[in-house]
Amino acid sequence: MTAAVVIGLEIHVQLATRSKLFCKCPTALTTTPNSQLCPICAGHPGTLPRLNTEAIRLGIRAALALEARVAPVSSWDRKHYFYPDLPKGYQITQHHTPLACGGQIPVWSAHGLVHVPLTEMHLEEDAGKSAHGVDPEDRLTGIDLNRCGVPLLEIVTAPTLHSAKDASAAAQNLHTLLCALGITTGHMQAGQMRMDANVSCPTGVTPAAPRVEIKNLNSFRFLEAAIDAECRRQAQVQQAGGAIHAETRGYDPRQNVTFAMRDKESLPDYRYLPEPDLPALVVTPEMLSRARDTLPPLPHQVGQHYQRTWNLPFAQARSISVAPDLEHYLAAALPQTNAPQLLVNLALNEVARLANGRPWNRLPLGPAHLVALVELIHVGRLSHTSAKALLPCLIEGGEEPELLAAERGLLQQLDAQTLDKLVAQVLATEAAAVARYHLGKLEVFGFLVGQVMKLSGGRAEPRTVQAALCQRLTRRT
């Protein structure tokens, strides 16, 4: 009998600094290999690391956002291995004392808020990239050291996840949070967030199952698929009477299977050594309080606030929570409107589509004008269709919605006399429907309203029509 799968994640996040962790080389994305190098990140003899304090600031910000305990003093350590894209022969990381311990990833979904516990997080430098197939015969390996020395924050979760979906949700929520706080730009295709998943399937007999590590997953879809594939493989092996052993595996998305990379037993001994070229990393209470003071509400807190205050559905609250510019816009608009849901619908659908990726704070259609537009719809002076027709112009123009609607003749204004005539006309032509209404088929009422509206060419105001119809129908009785 197989118990639930146990999953832990190690997530590497590239910090949004302009320069590398130990030198002044830029971290910007470039397509020219080895164009962002200096003697320090290329590992020339005699060079020494020089700490980028911005990376420390971002690391502390992340730790506080994730409610981890920041170590007052943390270490820098060298992790040794020989690899073509590791020019110093070691990576500078924080092995003995990490930047922060504990903490949790808030995972917020339609079902509510849960927390995925973290064990630790630490800073380290990235290695370069090896490119295979640079020559027709595929005998050469190209080495690009641009990424060498780029600052990473490695965040390690406790092995408390029990499904691929949960793992993916945790990673996505972490991504959302770190992007919202400006800790990373989170460009997945550029490898700015890479995940390793530790998967073990404890059985009833052996509760401490061997841990299989799946390396270097760079999308949430692959993360989920890889874990599922690995669970399937482990189940198959166990069903066939085989044993799972600790190893490191890769994931092949084309065939949707994991494959062996190396055994855990043959793992290199990293020969960790305290980094003598850097003083210990000291985080002062002042640094902590400064970081705390500048920490905005987290995305899930923003989203929950919108859910509660404006009674919005999860999906909309979530969209708002991840877009600070939109949130800022709505924070200005919503308290002014009588139809918050209508406003959010209009904003998230029509306006967002027309904005076409432009940030909300740069739209000529300001919150006040959107509120005015929504009010026209709400009181029935403008139909939804007409509002939509006006938006392309409003969004560019910054005009007063009511003036524009009036100019275009879209405002729903009819004098009582005309309306009365129209109502009378409809009641006459739709006698059969009126008869049905009097027999108790009240749903016909809506149809009759529609007919009056149609006859008015969209200029009638639905509520006035309803009132007039009501009056006439009752008078007849």
């Binding site: 590992g43 003899p45 020494l48 020089r50 040794h80 690899y83 070691y90 020969r271 960790y272 070229d277």
Partner: protein, 486 residues
């Protein structure tokens, strides 16, 4: 033009340059000739002839214009070949860095240039500064200028020879466990290892980063000061450097030796020191006392423990620092068409035996459980030695020690014990990160230099140099005839 006295004090040469009695070009030309003449001692791995002469001419021109010149303007200075320079190759005495031309200058090199120094060349050393004979240099076998059958000491052997023979006015070396002090003692010159953090290590090719420190070699104690002043000061490129001022702001000069308490170690602690060096130590103590200093009996953790700890600690850091020499990006590259692993192992097979031993020892200490235990013990001794020196130096101004257990030993068939003990008395100051100086004390009956060591308080090179001046007995190599020498 009378040829300048190349073994005159640096300060005298500077004065002559200043008054115009001597031009930088003349001095550089004469130094280059001396380098040529003393070539049999194999002090230099690279001579920077044309650029040095051009620089000297520029110094003369600047001076002729009456413009400001640096405090070392026109003085010929040599660099140990583990300090990187764009102008000259940097090999660290290793085949691994054959043909390596660094893309940047070490901070100390830049500061020497800023002070106007003429960089005349790169001097020989033990491979990657690991050794105490300079004989593990891949491309040269440096010889002691007082007896060519003997070692010049190491690893800064080339710098010591150059300074002793007048082939440079002063030289930079590097001292990890005694690599400036020991060759200075063997060659009869002054060797200062400043406080750890006093001089920038940026551009000093790392051996054991926790102890590596650029050092200064000169013929007279007074010559150290201008070089130290030119080099000292914090360097943003080396976060282990310190901003402490070189000379304390209080005008405590001239220093009264009567205010000094000198720590003197008991005979038992000095076990294994040759009798003549024990006598040298004793005479030095007497002289200091005669000058009014108070000599206080003190003790420190046994030197052998410190040495064993140092050997372990430096080996693990060497293993780490030398991991980058894989032949992929610079220096020597073997097995170019082979896969990565073969390429790395064949390239690294080019390390000499001394380096290989230390790399293996370092790897063992970090991977094997027994090794790890040894390493833990070494770290405990490190702390112990560090703390013992600090405690002691709260009580005394400085400590008087031998530099080495013996004078310069033969180059061939050296007893393994002699080699093993070469750093016995120098590693203490290295572990404690304290400034230490090797001071010449004349010659023995065989004409070999004698020396003593003084270890001072942290960042107090000033006091160290003042006291050293009282006890120095310079060795005048130039007074010996060339025929007698080689």
């Amino acid at each position: 033009m009378p040829s300048p006295n190349l073994t005159a004090p640096l300060t005298t040469l500077a004065q002559a340059l200043h008054t115009g009695a001597l031009t930088a070009h003349e001095l550089t030309e004469a130094t280059l000739q001396q380098i040529q003449a003393t070539q049999p001692y194999e002090a230099y791995l690279y001579v920077n002839r044309a650029p040095a002469l051009a620089w000297a001419q520029q110094c003369d021109a600047t001076r002729a214009r009456g413009a400001m010149t640096g405090c070392l303007a026109g003085l010929p200075i040599a660099l140990k070949d583990n300090l990187v320079t764009q102008e000259m190759p940097t090999t660290c005495g290793s085949r691994l860095l054959a043909g390596y031309q660094a893309p940047y200058d070490a901070t100390v090199v830049t500061r020497l240039r800023d002070a106007g120094a003429v960089l005349v060349g790169k001097t020989a050393l033990d491979e990657f500064a690991m050794g105490s004979t300079s004989q593990s240099c891949a491309t040269s076998a440096p010889k002691n200028p007082w007896d060519a059958a003997r070692v010049p000491g190491g690893s800064s052997g080339g710098s010591a020879i150059a300074v002793a023979t007048g082939a440079a006015a002063a030289a930079l070396g590097s001292d990890t466990g005694g690599s400036v002090r020991q060759p200075a003692a063997f060659c009869g010159v002054v060797g200062l290892k400043p406080t750890y953090g006093r001089l920038s290590r940026f551009g000093l090719v790392a051996f054991a980063s926790s102890f590596d420190q650029v050092g200064i070699l000169s013929r007279y104690v007074a010559d150290v000061e201008p070089v130290l002043l030119a080099l000292a000061g914090p360097d943003p490129c080396d976060t282990t450097t310190h901003a402490a001022p070189v000379f304390s702001p209080s005008p405590s000069f001239p220093l009264h030796l009567a205010d000094c308490r000198i720590g003197v170690l008991p005979e038992a602690w000095l076990q294994g020191v040759e009798p003549e060096l024990q006598q040298t130590l004793e005479r030095t103590r007497e002289e200091l006392a005669a000058h009014g200093a108070t000599c206080v009996p003190v003790t420190l953790p046994p030197p052998r423990e410190a040495l064993t700890a140092y050997q372990a600690l430096s080996a693990v850091e060497a293993m780490s620092n030398l991991a980058r020499y894989d032949g992929l990006r610079y220096g020597c590259a073997k097995a170019l068409t082979q896969p990565f692993d073969a390429r790395v192992s064949q390239t690294r097979a080019e390390f000499g035996n001394e380096a290989k031993c230390r790399l293996l020892w370092g790897s063992f200490l970090l991977t094997d459980p027994a090794g790890h235990e040894l390493l833990c013990r070494a770290r405990a001794v490190w702390r112990q030695v560090h703390d013992a020196y600090r405690t002691l130096l709260a009580e005394v101004t400085l400590v008087l020690l031998p530099v080495t257990p013996s004078v310069a030993f033969p180059r061939l068939d050296t007893p393994p014990d002699t080699l093993a003990n070469a750093d016995l008395f120098t590693v203490g100051a290295s572990l404690a990160g304290l400034p230490a100086i090797s001071v010449p004390r004349g010659l023995n009956a065989q004409g070999l230099p004698l020396a003593v060591q003084l270890v001072g308080r942290t960042f107090d090179e000033a006091t160290l140099l003042r006291v050293a001046q009282h006890v120095e007995q310079p060795c005048h190599w130039s007074e010996r005839s060339a025929a007698e020498l080689l």
